[in-house]
Every structure is written in structure tokens, then in C-alpha cells.
Symmetry: C2
Subunit: 243 residues, 2 copies
């Protein structure tokens, strides 16, 4: 079976500076449907990749820190962690209370006022579900939502965007039991499509241009369905070889 | 600065079953420029993401194995490794002689005859450069090349595609010294765009449909330039916290 589906990665400008308590889903819909050339809109089976940063701001996951101290957020890093995995100098890599393994418990201080640090959402899958439900309720379109953040990784330099939460789109494309192009059963089988979607969106979202939302358009409708990053992607510490 | 560049991810069908000694660059060009609806073509600043598998086949990085023994390639895994990092049951995670940390030294037996195992290219950056030079020489277009493979990672389930080699496209987008949307210097700064491009391409290449090549079209021309996965992405074991 050869499916020659082209995908489009579309940056969505026009999101206002998000404040605690804002209706983020409404703001995202407004940004997607605002007049633009070419128009963006929202279609069935679009995947909306939304920066964790704006989700956290809308959910008021903010703490005040001393703006003159670059390490002022460190106590919060430890509060947000259940286990420190590695530590070197100022760098703390820990398992967060959400189950992610990342630097600084995902807390950061860019794209926010200098006296403020931004924490991860309490439950990014739930955040994604709420946005999806609001969009479906208001516009009647069936979209996927990915809440994305930028993580480092062992062994390879540079950072990439990964999914912290998702809704409507399956996190893993499970190809076990399917045959490869020469008819043998595939060995490499479980593709983490939500992380690939998050990374693809980063290519147009950038870090400095304030684009917090991107749409991946053209995704196979068969990829839509239930699942969550928490249940399907976050690896059980018992099965993990690296902590 | 707001750059509202849309990207397109285009699967390229029509690559023949690649054999050792084949002119892979020529085959890729033929596949991109073959009549199709809509046409594909090759444009300046297209990024071509090519499966490691076809690069290895063209370069004859194949070994014969007993087709009845699923573990017959294991001695080769150890030969291709300089250091075993973790081992559990049949799973070997090692540092390969190329410097990658991955399962089975990147060797696999899918999409190939049952008596054959496919090794990684000796130097995937060099493979990428050769393909880029051949395309530039024949068609006069300035493209980026990424040679991609599917790797697992710690802490998160599922696999994603990453870059083993690249040419023409910078591996890392270095944003250090640039300001964020509110004018503070960015903390998260080195984005591994070649891995995000590899993952994006995987979304249309799939694993079972035999699509070994995808084009990412619309990439910022400023992202083009020198660099290699070996020099810029593979982390020095001394600076790595996880081996």
C-alpha cells in the first residue's frame, strides 16, 4: 500500500500575549480563522501543535522569581521533580512529577517577564483534550492537539520539540504485525508520531518569533483516535534502562 | 522578526529497489523529476531526506545472515560497536564505531532479503555530500540532504527518525545571542533542525510503503550552510551524562 499524502506545516500568527485565565482555545481558533493571505482556517484532521508555554500561561503555571538571579528558579525545579537523574554544575536533569525526564523540570524563563518562571502544565494531555473539545464544540471540526516543548536528549547535541500532551491523535503508530515492502514482518514498528509532529511544527514555530501555534495539515485520518502522552509515551521507570 | 514560512513535506515514490553499486543520486533525481500529478521536481533549498537503508544498499553495506535465526546478526552488532552501553535480553544498546548510541548498532533486517542484514553507512555525512554534489552537478540546484534512520530513545516509548548524516543544511540552528519575543536573551538556543527534518519526513515516508525519499520544501535559505552530523550532533562521550 502506497499512500502519497503530502503534509503542510503552517505557522499560525496573531495569538495575543496569553495571560492567566485566558480562553486559550478561543484565542487559537481566532488566530486560525482570522483573515490572512493565504487563509489558514481549521479543517477536519488538522493537527494543531501548541507551545507548552502558552498553555502554562493560560493555566497560570507561573511563579515569581528574583529577576537578578539566573538560578532563582532552582528551588522550584527541585519541587517539581520526584528524582534527580543527573546533575552537573547548574544543570539538573530530573524526572518530573509528570514523569518526563528533562532539564530544569521543564521550567524556563524565556518569552516571559524577567520576574517570572513558567512551569509545565499539571496534565498536558488534559490541557490538550480541553482545547480539542472547545474547538470541536465551537467549530465542529475534528482536530488533533499536541502540546509541545523543547527538550534535550542524551548522546546527541541540540534540542528538539517533543509532545507533552495530546488529544485526538494517536501518540504511537503501531505497525506491529504489518509487512514491510518485501513482505517480511516489520521489526521497527512503534513510531512516535506525536513527537515527530511536534518537531515538524517547531520548524515553523521557531523560538524567537513568537509563533506559538502551527498546524500540520494532511495527516492520515487513520492516525486519529484515543491515547495520551502520559499513558502511551512516558516510559515506566521499571522498563527504562537509563535511570 | 516574524517569518511566516509554510513548509511542505512531499513523499517521493518511484525509487527502484536499490542494489549495491547503484547510482543512488541519479535514481533519486529520476524519481523526483518523473512525471507525476502534482509534479514534484527539485528546487533550490529543498531538503531531501533519504532513508539510511537505501544509502547502505547502494554502498553495499550488507552482510549475509542465516535467515532462520532472528539473532544471526548479533555478532555483527558487536563488531560494529565500540562500547556496549546497556544490554537486556536480546537488546543491545551500544555506541557504534560512527559514534551513534542506538539499538543493534543500527543494523536491521526489514525491507531486505531474509538472508541479508543492512549495516549503517561508513560515513553518512560523506554519503550525503556525494548525493548533494551529484544533484548540484546534474541539475544545478542547491539542495540539502539528510540521511535518516529510526532510533529509540530513553524515557519515551516509540521511535523517531533522526539524522545520521547531512550536507548543505546546517545541523544546528544556533539562536544564542538572539532575543526572544519579549526581548530577553534566549536560554533554549540550539535547535537540532536536521533531526526535526528527519522526523517530519518520516511522517510521509512511513515504514511499510517503500517510500525511501521525502522532500521538505520551503525551508529558510538561511538554514543552508556547512556542517555535519558527526561534528555538530554526535556528542563527545566526555560531555555526555548518560554513558
Amino acid at each position: 500500500m502506497t499512500d502519497l499524502r503530502r503534509l503542510e506545516i503552517i505557522p499560525v500568527p496573531g495569538l495575543p500575549e496569553v495571560q492567566p485565565g485566558d480562553d486559550l482555545a478561543g484565542q487559537v481558533m481566532d488566530a486560525c480563522t482570522a483573515p490572512s493571505d493565504p487563509p489558514i482556517g481549521l479543517l477536519d484532521h488538522d493537527v494543531l501543535v501548541i507551545s507548552q508555554k502558552v498553555v502554562s500561561k493560560a493555566e497560570n503555571k507561573l511563579v515569581k522569581v528574583d529577576p537578578t538571579d539566573p538560578q532563582a528558579h532552582k528551588p522550584v525545579v527541585l519541587e517539581e521533580s520526584v528524582r534527580v537523574i543527573r546533575r552537573r554544575g547548574d544543570l539538573i536533569i530530573s524526572q518530573t512529577k509528570h514523569g518526563f525526564v528533562c532539564a530544569s523540570a521543564g521550567i524556563d524563563r524565556s518569552n516571559v517577564a524577567s520576574d517570572t518562571a513558567v512551569l509545565l502544565p499539571d496534565d498536558s494531555d488534559r490541557s490538550a483534550r480541553r482545547i480539542r473539545d472547545a474547538i470541536n464544540g465551537r467549530l465542529g471540526v475534528d482536530v488533533g492537539i499536541v502540546v509541545a516543548d523543547t527538550f534535550g536528549r542524551p548522546w546527541r547535541r541540540g534540542l528538539t520539540d517533543v509532545a507533552l500532551g495530546c488529544a485526538g491523535i494517536k501518540p504511537i503508530l503501531d505497525l506491529r504485525g504489518t509487512d514491510d515492502a518485501v513482505g517480511r514482518e516489520l521489526q521497527v514498528t512503534e513510531v512516535c508520531i506525536v513527537d515527530e509532529l511536534a518537531g515538524a511544527a517547531e520548524l515553523v514555530r521557531g523560538k524567537s518569533n513568537g509563533i506559538a501555534v502551527a498546524i500540520i495539515r494532511g495527516v492520515d485520518p487513520a492516525w486519529f483516535g484515543p491515547g495520551s502522552v502520559q499513558d502511551d509515551i512516558v516510559r515506566d521507570p521499571q522498563e527504562d534502562l537509563f535511570r
